[in-house]
Subunit: 296 residues, 2 copies
DNA sequence: TAGATTGTTAATCGATTAACAATC
DNA sequence: TAGATTGTTAATCGATTAACAATC
């Protein structure tokens, strides 16, 4: 059976490449928005709002109303022209489409801070997800409890997955343990994995992996923040980086001929940046400290 | 100043609609992948691998190699034909592009389980992010410590943001407090927000919000899991939902004329599904339990 | 030089959006 | 009927990918 690496980033279209691209013709981008609509509708439902227009609901969900109507059109014709959508009815239809009218037992593997946080997360239970078990490999953690559930030993993984028909696993282990845990989950029969460890998991065909990466989101924010801070277009850029092809090629050759290691080259580039910073070309308190990103 | 709702889902193109769509011509989808490449490169760097081809690096990052080369082409020509990319040099260039060669002080607001987990998260410190302060409104939490840092009271927010030049805030409060916390952060000068609360935040122009939603990812997995389980295309679908237009319209009219509340309609639809399940049309242990998704 | 691999082109695919006919 | 709002069309935009010329 072929093993395929999980699909990349979580921000673009996770997993779109792996599976037949759509299930029953619903675009992946639409599927990813259904939970947003559902949340907005649930809030309206709690306020006993009977109907809502695409315009109102789109505003509540933070999307364009044309997009929302297009999204709903993939599900069917659940609105009434001139009136809008019936809140309760739409809550039900979306829930059903997402599979939330079923009960989904999940196991959480790795009960550190994040595992604890997830075990306690209200958004799971309220949407059909039930924590079937908390698992950890550390004997000091096994036997403690979280969210009212005992933490059990990894050895029980297979029997729990089988007896409780668990098809979804959540990995909150340290990165080094993630692939191994993933393999055991898959072997035991789990076919959907939510991975919080910063590790690219390899799984057989037919297994879905989604990844939540806490630091990636922060890095994307930093990228944009950097752009806001200094508005000079080339503020951290070396002149050579934008030079015409031949010049760049010559420079590359020089760097290479210098026989310097990549580290030397990187350090050199950093030094250049710092020199430019000293000349006041860089924005906002930047210190050019590479120690954090350049392993020694 | 105009206030715009944050951009919707985290899965498609977060925030692409709000800002001028690209900063210095780098597509949003590419920016979102840079952290993945960076992680893969860092791992190679730690193993002292000097160079890597686009094919190898793409495999490590879990993406298509053509996509990787295209992504890198937006940054400049950092490779060598016939050879590949110098690992260290590329680590530096991507770090710089993402703004990770700067020091980014962040505040974390809401020190529950998730706040704790984030405070301890290694992936932050190692990428230029520094936790400037942990904040909470609960007097019982204030004064405790997490990850070696004291939890301080919300009242100190403004002075901390100002004195430490904090431009990034992380919200890990309960949903009800998120908008209020967000407003205070923005007022104090924060211009990038990472929101873990399941709340659509409204912010002024010029402020970026990214959202990490733990339950949305699980819901997307459930959608696909449902499709795997029962492969009959229409397994949870009422006959009417796929009927030709006129029939659907008539049915809608009937539902409406029945004067039933949306709840009644939803319950009716659910009953229909359960009847179908009884006939064996539904997959995999589904119990059709609506209590979790249908607020009373 | 011969083999390898990048950087770029161009075709394709999917997602977004405004506009409006259909219809409540 | 008149006003409102959906569902759909079609244009546009952005992202992906295979293929290959450039070039190390």
């Amino acid at each position: 059976m072929g093993r395929s690496p999980q699909s990349s980033s979580q921000t673009p279209d996770q997993g779109a490449a792996r599976r037949p691209s759509r299930a029953r013709g619903i675009p992946e981008a639409t599927v990813a928005r259904l939970p947003l609509y559902l949340r907005a509708l649930t809030a309206l439902s709690e306020r006993s709002v009977p109907t809502v227009s695409s315009e109102e609901l789109a505003a509540a969900a933070g999307v364009n109303s044309a997009k929302l109507r297009k999204d709903f059109s993939y599900l069917g014709s659940y609105g009434t022209r001139g009136v809008g959508y019936d809140v309760e009815y739409l809550v039900y239809q979306i829930s059903r489409e997402l599979g939330l009218t079923q009960d989904w037992p999940v196991v959480i593997v790795g009960i550190g801070n994040l595992g604890h946080a997830l075990a306690n997360y209200g958004g799971f239970a309220s949407r059909g997800f039930r924590v079937a078990a908390l698992l950890d490999a550390d004997p000091n953690v096994v036997g403690t409890s979280a969210a009212g559930l005992p933490v059990r030993h990894m050895d029980e993984l297979e029997s729990i997955v089988e007896s409780q028909h668990v098809s979804i696993g959540v990995i909150t282990t340290p990165p080094g343990a993630a692939q191994q845990v993933c393999d055991r989950l898959v072997e035991a029969g789990v076919t959907s994995i939510l991975n919080f460890a910063p590790t690219v998991l390899t799984v057989p065909d037919g297994v879905d992996v989604r990844k939540v990466d806490l630091s990636i989101e922060l890095q994307i924010l930093a990228f944009h923040e950097q752009r806001k801070a200094g508005e000079e277009p080339d503020h951290t850029e070396s002149v050579l980086d934008r030079a015409p092809g031949p010049v760049r090629a010559a420079a590359a050759k020089l760097r290479r001929a210098a026989g310097g290691s990549g580290k030397a080259r990187a350090a050199e580039a950093a030094a250049k940046d710092q020199a430019e910073q000293a000349k006041g070309k860089t924005a906002k308190g930047g210190e050019g400290d590479l120690s954090a990103v350049m392993p020694a």
